[in-house]
Amino acid sequence: MKIHNTRGGRIFDAANYLFLSLIGIVTLLPFVYVFAGSFATEAEITRRAFFVWPEQFTLGSYEYIFATPAFVRALVTTILVTAVGTMVQLAFTVTMAYPLAKKSLRGRNVILSLVVFAMVFSGGMIPTFLLVKDLGLLNSYWALILPAAINPFSLIIIKNFFQELPAELEESAKMDGATEIGILWRILLPLSKPVLATFALFYAVGIWNDFMSPLLYLSDNSKWTLQMYLRQVTAASDLLGTGNVDPNYIPPEQGIKFAVIVVATLPILIFYPFLQKHFAKGMLIGSVKG
């Protein structure tokens, strides 16, 4: 539709475009500053208030952090926990979603109601902590993966997706003598690759970003994940009055903080375009409505 634009309308459009561009830039500025700062010298960071391009380019901060065993250990740990955790969580979610997609399965409605109830009400921090403790999972990486193994929202969306696949696919496979597990593995999973990839990404982002679980469950600081390490590096020493920080810790110089933030942010930014492609299609909207 062509809208006849008045003079006032054109002024509004110009102001609106300018304003939104500014919003976009302001959103981005903290990253640009931190990214530029991670390649700048210590002197430049303290001297210049704000910059988006370093005067003198150096890799010193990165050389330092990658030579720090505690940082490398936290980074490798986080990558491994994220990779294993994503696969475990996806496996739990898919194996539960598939039987629940079968309307004729008895007990299905009871289980679905219990899943929905678990979305509304949870035991809370302390009972969950005591459970993890009683299971002997304190200071185990499984404590970062298992308590969040199935996200009820993801479960229901994947279940709905399976339900909407044409039933003929399964029927013809059954005629060829395939079991339900065979059908899931050889027919449904290949068909659902894009959907599963999206949920894998959401699970991965969740584990990568998780701060509360390592804070609660990993008291041994040799097991810390990247987010815990980041917290320790960037909180100014005089602010650390809230516990769970290594007392022998010496606060690092500015450039190192910048470099650690960049390393913790980069994977999210790399995968962001893939994430955006799917949530933009309204998948999440459907989950809110349905």
């Binding site: 539709m1 809208i3 509004f12 459009d13 475009y17 304003f19 561009s21 976009g24 959103t27 500053y33 931190v34 700062g37 208030a49 704000f50 739990f92 194996t95 598939y98 039987p99 629940l100 079968k102 004729s104 008895r106 289980i111 899943v115 678990a118 009400f121 035991g123 809370g124 921090m125 302390i126 009972p127 969950t128 005591l130 459970l131 298992l146 199935i150 029927e171 059954k174 597990i181 970003n209 701060f211 509360m212 609660l216 980041l230 917290r231 960037t234 909180a235 100014a236 005089d238 602010l239 650390l240 809230t242 500015q254 903080k257 910048f258 933030i261 999210i268 962001y272 955006q276 909207i285």
Partner: protein, 324 residues
């Protein structure tokens, strides 16, 4: 049992799917037919039983004096002692105040800003600009609170932070944003706006995309300007979405976000920073008062449920479509 077995074999010999057992038949027959599906269901059901429902049972320690070696079942009952202790504690009014102030600041500032941003984005007809701005403002949602807090520590740091230096150079002020209690709430709201306003527009933009375009044409013919069109067509069209999101936001009011508050809390701003979520952590995990902190957490969840049903009821009273 004999009949279905023969039935199944006959089906396979004939190269056909064994017929699904009829509805209302014996469960053993049904189970034999769907055994693989029930097997697949096991890990998920065990997960929900152990990690979702066992902690719900564990909530019972809110009414007990939990002793670790006696366990949840063995610990003695104390009735509502933990709750009366909490309500009599001077921490209670302080926590309630801090939590509610943050909740109302978020509801009053961040929530309307989301709608405003969605409306402004909706007015953009230059699709390249619209998509670029959307891409940029969604990003912070995917970053961890640790990163948001770390960025804040750098930007607002005393002496060397860009904002400190800027204000110092232009106005000569020395503001210690990070430890001055007066700056705690503005920082929290600012972080919330930066992180989630963009993401929050998605649901409103989806609702805006369904608005009937003919109405705008009719309004233009009637001589309505840009703002009148937004006020009389666009806003009423997304009213139900706004109400649903508002109900959800009010239901979440007491969930101030543990990670965000915890990361921004320090020894100097505890007085204004402590909220229910972080209090449960400090008292429960670091001081080991498990029963007492569980009672605090339970109080918070119950109030949350009351709030969500209450606002839903109110929305219906005022003739709006509620959430359920």
């Amino acid at each position: 049992m004999a009949a279905p077995v023969i039935d199944t074999l006959a089906g396979e010999r004939a190269g056909k799917t064994p017929p699904a057992p009829r509805k209302g038949g014996r469960f053993s027959v049904h189970f034999a037919h769907y055994k693989w599906l029930y097997l697949l269901l096991v890990p998920g059901v065990v997960y929900f039983a152990v990690f979702r429902y066992a902690p719900m049972y564990g909530v019972s320690i809110a009414f007990k004096d939990y002793v670790p070696f006696l366990g949840v079942n063995g610990s003695p009952w104390v009735g509502v002692q933990n709750f009366t202790d909490f309500f009599a504690n001077p921490d209670f009014p302080r926590l309630l105040g801090n939590t509610l102030i943050l909740a109302f600041l978020n509801l009053g500032i961040a929530f309307p800003l989301t709608i405003v941003l969605a409306l402004l984005l909706n007015e953009v007809r230059l699709s390249v600009l619209k998509r670029t701005v959307q891409t940029l403002v969604y990003i912070p949602h995917f970053l961890s609170w640790t990163i948001v807090a770390s960025l804040s520590f750098l930007l607002f740091a005393l002496d060397i932070g860009p904002l400190f230096q800027f204000l110092n150079n232009t106005m000569g002020t020395h503001i210690d944003f990070l430890s001055d209690p007066a700056w705690f709430r503005p920082l929290i709201v600012l972080q919330e706006i930066w992180k989630n306003t963009g993401w929050g527009t998605i649901i409103f933009l989806a609702a805006l995309s369904t608005v009937d375009q003919d109405q705008y044409e009719a309004a233009i013919i009637d001589g309505a300007g840009r703002f009148r069109r937004v006020w009389h067509i666009t806003l009423p069209a997304i009213r139900s979405t706004i109400i649903v999101m508002l109900i959800l936001a009010i239901g979440q009011m007491l969930n101030t976000g543990f990670e965000q508050i915890y990361l921004m809390t320090n020894a100097l701003n505890r007085e204004v920073a402590d909220v229910f979520d972080t209090y449960v952590y400090f008292v429960g995990i670091t001081q080991g008062a498990y029963s007492y902190s569980t009672a605090v957490g339970l109080f918070k969840s119950v109030v949350g449920i009351v709030l969500i049903f209450g606002t839903n009821w109110l929305a219906k009273r005022f003739n709006q479509s509620g959430l359920f």
